[in-house]
């Protein structure tokens, strides 16, 4: 910690920043991006084998074998990352070292309703969010369950013989169906929902830098800002 302090104070001279993601979490996100991207580009040609572009790519049995192995390796990387992520979160939360802010609560429903009213011009102010807003929680949990489903179904279709020792055979075609359909849903979700919110709505690089500026904290995570600093987040509150 002592080694970091000079850097912090150096930035603080220009602008006060708030730690949003630890270095480990940022690495986790990088691994997630990489492995999911590899899984997607090696998975799509396998799903759309009837298409000519897929047949051009997988034009020899060796290439089919290769793309499968790459897919399996990326799957193992992502599975290990998921296990680490879950284990770390459970361990830290159990020891009260990590907030449970990511879990959905009633406030998210109110916030979403508030936002809906704002989008329909029924309110002039946007909701004031905590550490994670409802949109970010939707992203996290949508992909959380999506990846869980893809992980389980993926291992079922990878090891059908082993899984049918204790599961009915129908789970194999069901997994095959669910695995690739969920993958496409997740890919569309990331492009439309996640990319919109972190690139177009505003460029939010905190998952890479790990920090939010004071301005960003006030604007986008007002309640968290108030909780951390004890100061009011914005004048907007006074406006309404």
């Amino acid at each position: 910690m002592s080694g970091k302090k000079p850097i912090n104070s150096a930035i603080a001279r220009q602008e006060r920043t708030f730690t949003r993601f630890m270095l480990g979490q940022r690495w986790e996100h990088a691994i997630l991006i990489l492995s999911s991207f590899v899984l997607l580009i090696t998975g799509l040609p396998q799903k759309y084998r009837g298409m000519s572009w897929s047949q051009d790519l997988l034009s020899t049995p060796e290439r089919v074998e290769f793309i499968r192995q790459v897919h399996h390796i990326a799957a193992i990387v992502l599975a290990l990352e998921a296990i680490y992520h879950l284990g770390r979160a459970i361990y830290l939360m159990a020891r009260r070292k990590m907030s449970a802010d990511m879990f959905p609560n009633m406030q998210d429903i109110y916030d979403a309703w508030h936002m809906l009213q704002y989008l329909f011009f029924l309110r002039r102010d946007k909701p004031v969010y905590g550490r994670y807003n409802f949109e970010q929680k939707v992203t996290y949990w949508f992909l959380f369950f999506g990846f869980a489903l893809m992980g389980i179904s993926g291992f079922i279709i990878w090891f059908p013989v082993q899984f049918t020792q204790f599961l009915p055979g129908g789970v194999v075609p069901a997994s095959k169906m669910a695995h690739s359909t969920e993958a496409v849903v997740a890919a569309i979700f990331i492009v439309i929902w996640h990319f919109y919110h972190v690139h177009i709505e505003r460029l939010n690089l905190s998952i890479f830098t790990g920090r939010l500026s004071e301005d960003e904290m006030k604007k986008f995570h007002g309640r968290e800002y108030e909780r951390v600093t004890g100061q009011p987040a914005s004048k907007l509150d006074e406006e309404k």
């Binding site: 034009s59 946007k126 059908p160 986008f220």
Partner: protein, 391 residues
């Protein structure tokens, strides 16, 4: 030499008779020389003088004409009734059209060492009339075996006895007659008897041999007729699904028996079939370890799937097939393959449920996301026009 002698004798004794003989002899000689030098017109020799079939049969319907060739007995007796019923007789083909070396009695001596060699000298005449079929056979697996030294491989006359072969195709339709179809497996069984025994018991073979049902495939429907190819090659294996599909996707045949025509689609939709289809189209010569129709259903011994003993609708029976590639598979594994069923509440409800879920889930997620994003963009545009500052 004889001519020379004749000339000398005319000089020694002068008589009218002798000089006439000399004159005739010279004329013959001159004719002989002229006809030898000038090219003969290409008209069939003995066209009119060909001995009629009755002429041949006068002797050849007699018993006891068989003669010995090496260790083999060659049957030379022809049953006039059988021959009369044959297509060759019907078409007015004459004995000597095929037995081209015979014109009179006594016949020239057969030079072949045995019966098979004799057949080999004779069957080439089939080409005179059946050139198309004859040339196709040149590309066949049988011809390849012969070229490799196996003289037991079939030649024309092994399948088509020229003395008894009846008409195979309808005179006007040109299609194989039902009677001819029923007879095909018997013809092949003369050599391929083990396969015939399996075929006989199969759903196809049983229908053909017991019910004379000609909807079912005979040997030639899968193997071809004259240009029969080796069925153990990779490309033949890879093409199997499309071979079976010729009939099994044809509602005109399948509807009668209540058999689904979706078998190829459902096979290709699954990854086994997807791979095989790709191999068939892109690299037919490359072996694939994915199963084709025959790996589960059998080849010549195909049985009904709901056959209580051998049918693969029984998971125990299908498991045996699965285990050939998945040795550790257990009894629930075969149902991982949807048995050509479309998922429905009755068949594969889990898969049906997953499909149904995504049918609603995808539009709901897409719709929700697009709704939020578009309204957000709209509000931002309005904000910027109005000059409202907050985010």
């Amino acid at each position: 030499m004889r001519l020379g002698k004749q000339i000398r004798s005319t000089h020694s004794g002068i008589s009218l008779r002798a000089s006439l003989t000399l004159l005739l002899g010279l004329l013959f000689f001159a004719y002989g020389v002229v006809s030898f030098v000038t090219p003969v017109q290409a008209e069939p020799v003995y066209q009119e003088d060909k001995p009629a079939n009755d002429f041949c049969l006068a002797c050849h319907q007699e018993d006891g004409l068989d003669f010995k060739l090496g260790k083999d007995m060659i049957p030379a007796t022809i049953n006039p009734t059988q021959f009369g019923n044959s297509v060759h007789s019907d078409e007015g083909i004459m004995c000597v059209d095929c037995h081209t070396d015979i014109n009179d009695y006594p016949h020239p001596k057969v030079k072949s060492k045995n019966a098979r060699a004799f057949s080999f000298t004779l069957f080439v005449v089939c080409k005179q009339c059946h050139e198309d079929q004859f040339l196709k056979v040149q590309d066949s697996v049988h011809q390849r075996a012969i070229d490799g030294g196996n003289t037991n491989a079939a030649i024309c006359t092994d399948c088509h006895n020229p003395h008894t072969q009846g008409r195979l195709t309808g005179k006007t339709s040109g299609e194989l007659t039902p009677a001819a179809r029923v007879n095909i497996p018997l013809t092949c069984s003369k050599c391929h008897s083990v396969i015939y025994d399996a075929y006989k018991t199969s759903v196809h073979g049983n229908a053909l041999t017991q019910e004379k049902n000609t909807d079912v495939p005979t040997c030639i429907d899968c193997h071809g007729v004259h240009n029969i190819q080796k069925p153990t090659t990779v490309s033949f294996r890879n093409s199997t699904p499309f071979l079976c599909a010729k009939c099994h996707t044809d509602p005109a045949i399948m509807d009668k028996y209540g058999i689904t025509t979706n078998v190829l689609n459902s096979y290709v939709a699954d990854f086994h079939g997807t791979t095989v289809k790709l191999f068939e189209e892109e690299f037919p010569g490359q072996p694939t370890n994915k199963p084709v129709c025959t790996d589960c259903h059998g080849v010549h011994n195909i049985s009904k799937v709901d056959n209580p003993k051998t049918g693969i609708a029984l998971r125990e029976n299908l498991l045996v097939k699965c285990q050939r590639c998945h040795p550790d598979a257990t009894i629930d594994f075969p149902s991982a393959w949807m048995s050509h069923y479309e998922p429905s509440p009755e068949h594969y409800p889990i898969v049906y449920a997953v499909n149904l879920f995504y049918k609603f889930f995808i539009p709901a997620v897409l719709g929700g996301m697009i709704f939020f994003v578009l309204t957000d963009i709209f509000r931002r545009i309005v904000n910027s026009i109005k000059g409202v500052k907050h985010v």
